[in-house]
């Protein structure tokens, strides 16, 4: 079994299942902060998927997208927490 097929048939399905589980929490999430951390985790898993995909295809350009996504995830969580605190209710 080569590394490429191992990544395609084992690693990417594991990440896909993780995305599905986090999506369930994103829809269920009883409070808004649950949804914020689910979104944050979703973007972190997205970074991982992009990285694994760039290994699988051998194209290193996708790593740039992962870098931008990491920046946006941080800014999004900070903005959400700032404005939810201003709003002051659940």
């Amino acid at each position: 079994m080569t590394l490429d097929s191992y990544i395609d048939y084992v690693i990417l399905p594991i990440l896909a299942v993780s995305l599905l589980l986090v999506f369930i929490r994103l829809f269920k999430g009883p409070t808004i902060v649950d949804r914020v951390i689910a979104l944050d985790l979703l973007i972190t898993i997205g970074i991982s998927v992009i990285t694994v995909y760039s290994i699988s295809t051998g194209k290193s350009t996708f790593i740039d997208v992962a870098m931008i996504l990491a920046l946006i995830a941080f800014l999004g969580t900070i903005a959400f927490s700032y404005y939810i605190e201003k709003r002051g209710r659940k």
Partner: protein
């Protein structure tokens, strides 16, 4: 040989991310969910990026970018988690009924949202 190392790093990273996803679904309240996900997801993403850094050894720019993303994740994930946990505490998010100790109870000023260190009574 390098393939085995990359496969091992990928496997551990993917399992850490899977544990984070199961944790965010199964844990009973927000604070436990946060405590499970941030650490496990940072470890998993870091290991997968490290395997990308090993996979493109002849391109220095890719290794540098992967290490920069790892550095950025390790730097920002705790800050974001702290801020969202502080917000959740300030808007009175429910705690799990099995929580036995809350050291922050009464320490936050309700109006100004300043944290009291609890030592002013001693002066």
């Amino acid at each position: 040989m390098i393939d085995i190392i990359i496969g091992l790093l990928c496997t551990i990273g993917a399992i850490a991310i899977l544990i984070a996803a199961v944790g965010i679904l199964r844990m009973p309240d927000f604070y436990l969910r946060l405590s499970v996900t941030v650490k496990a997801a940072t470890l998993g993403g870091g290991l997968l990026l490290l395997s990308a850094a090993f996979y493109f050894p002849e391109e220095v720019s890719v290794t540098t970018k992967a290490l920069a993303i790892i550095f950025f994740l390790v730097l920002t994930a705790p800050v974001a988690a702290h801020l969202i946990a502080r917000t959740a505490y300030l808007i009175n998010t429910d705690q799990w009924k099995g929580t036995i100790q809350d050291d922050l109870a009464g320490m936050y000023d309700k109006e100004t949202h300043e944290l009291d260190s609890g030592e002013e009574g001693n002066k």
